[in-house]
């Protein structure tokens, strides 16, 4: 039973609860013990580092300092979410590379009686640990219900392979780790060239049209290649592709129905767990149809509660767009 | 030649083994008595410095001087005997290259004195140290001053012949005595000044009976925890044997007895620095290419400085370690 320190991150407690549930479900068969860090705090996601470095890195480093206190033997800190993994890795990397930053951050941490010496912890993503520590053979042994017949588009997102400080991934543009894992689970993995293209991140809040464009490329790319569903390794990608797929369809007048699941959910299925243990069914774009290909009965999603009837009012004019005219349909039909 | 030629032997900073080696030539000592008039040999007969001072210059035909120049008394007598002797021979390793006493050159001479009077077995509660000059009613009495760096004989006076060995082998001493006797009888020529006599001009391996193959050193071992193959060269068994660099003449006495040569016969002909030769020879045949591997093998040499300069430090290019030179420079300041 090899022990790892876990930094769950905010999404696993809210929008990506399914990721957390499916992760717990596969821990036992894979003989991994994840010990959550006491009193961890937000990792600053994508914005904070862009606004103000020192407080952002101090915020992140606080987690590292807390993790060091719970080390006793385990020296790997696992982050299931790509954004958390990247921020924690960046903090450890730049505190080492730029001693001035390191000392300032440690001054900040000292206020809370904490301190972090860069390099003590090995910050790694969950997928990296599963493939390179647990190993594909060990995973293959646990597969009881191979996902054969299920066409999956492997989507690793852009934060894992770039910037790959410690050269953990096979390639910076076309890494094969997720693909190899899904094949071991028996899935029928499609050749998906957009595996590390960006999902828009928080552009859904800042510039929706750009986000919809990026989401559309990813979903259309998977759909064209006949994928039944997409497997992701990051709650933010899952959220963007799943929650905003409807709005994207509305924006482009398309009708995609591409379920977006976490790779841990697929692993759970392959290990023979039932869907509700894995949080399957909570996704907005239902995976019910897709999973029929492997004979998995997903309980019908509860009828969406009738939306509060909007009081009748005057029809709203469509939003004025930046270039003053309604966008022309340049996206794919 | 009516009166027998005069013969002298002196014992400076050394262990006296060379004197015993001379006696060790058994009945040949009678030849010495027969052919020489021993005028000055402190350990064997009673003669005073003033007797030697009274002699004319160059009146002693043959002087065997053994021992390094440790204090100013040694220096004084060395100069005196040089004046009085026709042939001055640096006899034995101490006179030639400093030998074991020369190892004092690794430390500060004042510390040596301090240690000498403070060993566990020394009872010196109120820290009394010898003073080289002391007033007594009869006047000022002196004891010799220790020199900061032990010097070899030829660093103090001009030496005619060198006879290495610690001690020189008795058969070699006997041979030298025969040679001088024959020269006296006009039957032989003295070799050119500065030659090394009583030794071979190759190295110990020449006389060693052990079989020798291409040298590759995989590790250095300590002899006491090894099962030694009696026939094979010791160096090839990992024992750091100085034979390859040590002058021949002793018939490889030690390797024949199963012990490694430690270099008492000094450097081979024309070699400037004995230790450097061994450093180069041993290092060149180490079986490793990466620095870590090389260092790992070298860790087997517990005391490299001792291994390479046990007998030759005072006669080497560096002559002494840093502590001794520091003592010398401060010593100079004190005296002046």
């Amino acid at each position: 039973m090899n022990k790892y320190l876990l930094y769950p991150g905010c999404s696993l407690e809210s929008s990506a609860k399914a990721y957390a549930e499916s992760l717990n479900a596969i821990l036992e068969p894979l003989d991994i013990q994840l010990e959550e860090i006491e009193d961890w705090n937000c990792c600053g996601a994508t914005e904070y580092l862009g606004i103000n470095l020192i407080p952002a890195y101090s915020l992140i480093a606080r987690n590292l300092a807390l993790a060091v206190k719970q080390m006793d033997g385990a020296h790997t800190l696992v982050a299931p979410c790509s954004a958390c993994y990247l921020n924690l890795a960046k903090a450890d990397h730049y505190m080492q590379e730029r001693p001035a930053l390191g000392t300032k951050v440690n001054e900040a941490l000292a206020a809370g009686g904490l301190e972090y010496k860069p390099g003590t912890l090995d910050v790694r993503h969950l997928l990296d640990v599963l493939i390179y520590d647990v190993g594909l053979d060990a995973i293959k042994k646990k597969v009881t219900r191979p996902l054969s017949g299920l066409k999956v588009a492997p989507y690793m997102g852009c934060m894992l392979p770039r910037p790959d400080y410690k050269h953990r991934w096979s390639d910076h543009e076309h890494p094969t780790e997720l693909e190899d894992l899904l094949r071991v689970l028996g899935a029928d993995v499609i050749d998906y060239p957009l595996t590390t293209s960006c999902c828009g991140g928080h552009m859904t809040q800042i510039g929706p049209e750009t986000a919809f464009e990026l989401i559309c490329r990813l979903v259309a790319g998977a759909d064209e290649r006949g994928a039944h569903l997409m497997a992701t390794v990051c709650p933010m990608c899952q959220l963007n592709l799943d929650a905003y797929q409807g709005e994207m369809n509305g924006y482009f007048g398309t009708d995609y129905h591409m379920p977006i699941l976490f790779f841990t959910q697929l692993m759970g299925l392959a290990f023979g767990k039932d869907p509700d243990e894995l949080g399957i069914g909570t996704e907005l774009v239902s995976s019910r149809q897709a999973l029929m290909h492997i004979g998995v009965e997903v309980p019908a999603a509860p009828e969406p509660t009738a939306r509060r009837k909007k009081e009748e009012g005057l029809p709203m004019p469509s939003r004025l767009l930046r270039n003053g005219h309604k966008h022309e349909k340049e996206a794919v039909r | 030649m009516t009166a027998k030629p005069k013969f002298a032997m002196y014992w400076a900073a050394s262990c006296g083994g060379c004197e015993i080696a001379v006696l060790n030539i058994h009945e040949k000592i009678l030849d010495v008595d027969a052919n020489f008039d021993v005028v000055f040999w402190p350990v064997a007969m009673d003669a005073k410095y003033k007797d030697v001072e009274a002699m004319e210059d160059g009146s002693i035909l043959l002087t065997l001087f053994n021992g390094g120049i440790r204090n100013d008394e040694n220096e004084h007598i060395a100069k005196l005997l040089r004046k009085k002797s026709k042939i001055l021979v640096a006899f034995g390793s101490c006179a030639n290259e400093g030998c074991i006493p020369g190892l004092a050159n690794l430390s500060d001479s004042r510390e040596i004195v301090h240690t000498a009077f403070n060993t566990i077995s020394t009872d010196n509660p109120n820290q009394i140290y010898p003073r080289t000059a002391f007033d007594v009613p009869e006047g000022e009495i002196h004891i010799p001053n220790i020199l900061p760096v032990l010097k070899t004989l030829d660093q103090v006076v001009d030496v005619d012949y060198y006879m290495p060995g610690c001690p020189p082998e008795s058969h070699q001493i006997a041979a030298v005595i025969d040679l001088v006797v024959q020269v006296l009888q006009g039957k032989a020529e003295l070799p050119p000044k500065g030659t090394v006599i009583g030794a071979g001009n190759s190295t110990v391996c020449d006389e060693c009976k052990r079989t020798r193959n291409v040298k590759v050193i995989k590790s250095f071992e300590r002899i006491y925890n090894m099962q030694i193959d009696p026939a094979l060269c010791l160096l090839e068994q990992g024992i750091p044997c100085n034979g390859p660099a040590t002058r021949s003449g002793c018939n490889a006495r030690c390797p024949a007895a199963g012990a490694q040569c430690i270099g008492c016969y000094g450097p081979a002909e024309g070699v400037l620095d004995y230790g450097a030769r061994l450093i180069s020879a041993f290092a060149s045949v180490l079986d490793a290419k990466e620095p870590e591997e090389i260092d790992h093998i070298l860790d087997g040499l517990v005391d490299p400085t001792g291994q390479f300069y046990r007998f030759n430090l005072a006669g080497s290019l560096l002559k002494a370690g840093v502590p001794a030179w520091k003592a010398e420079s401060t010593h100079e300041k004190e005296k002046v």
Partner: protein, 156 residues
């Protein structure tokens, strides 16, 4: 006294790599510390520890040994012997109380003029920090050279 102490260093180079690196530094007009005086050997394997001891005991404050990178020796593998002798010699120097850092081994290929220049200057600064060796008062037996060396500026 040490701040304007100008160390004197003897440098051994091998004819095929490091000597040509020094020449290349020259043709490229790279500036480096003037304290090293070079001797050309056919190969770093020709370096006899006696040379180093001779230099140190004759007034040098440091010795620089240079040669081809391991594996690139013109005589195939002779620089490995130089490496082995260097490592053993340093241990003996330590035993004699001489700072082993006074002798340094640097690999420089014929194309590495810049490296040769920068390593030389760096080594001179290291020796300057260690101060004069002054072996056996050897230095003051040295004849006084006509005028003391004033240093307008130390080349970078």
């Amino acid at each position: 006294m040490t701040e304007n102490f100008e160390p004197t260093i003897i440098g051994f180079t091998c004819n095929w790599c490091s000597y040509r690196a020094a020449d290349l530094a020259g043709t490229a007009r790279m500036k480096y510390a003037p304290n090293v005086r070079l001797i050309r050997l056919m190969c770093s394997g020709r370096l006899d520890p006696t040379f180093v001891l001779r230099a140190l005991s004759s007034g040098a404050d440091g010795v620089m040994i240079t040669g081809c990178h391991p594996g690139e020796c013109h005589y195939i593998e002779q620089n490995y012997k130089a490496l082995r002798r260097y490592l053993l010699l340093k241990r003996v120097l330590k035993g004699l109380g001489i700072e082993p850092e006074r002798v340094k081994l640097i690999w420089a290929s014929a194309a590495e003029g810049a490296k040769f220049a920068s390593e030389t200057t760096a080594f001179v600064e290291e020796i300057r920090k260690l101060g004069p060796l002054n072996w056996g008062k050897a230095r003051d037996q040295l004849p006084v050279i006509s005028e003391p060396i004033q240093r307008e500026e130390v080349a970078a």
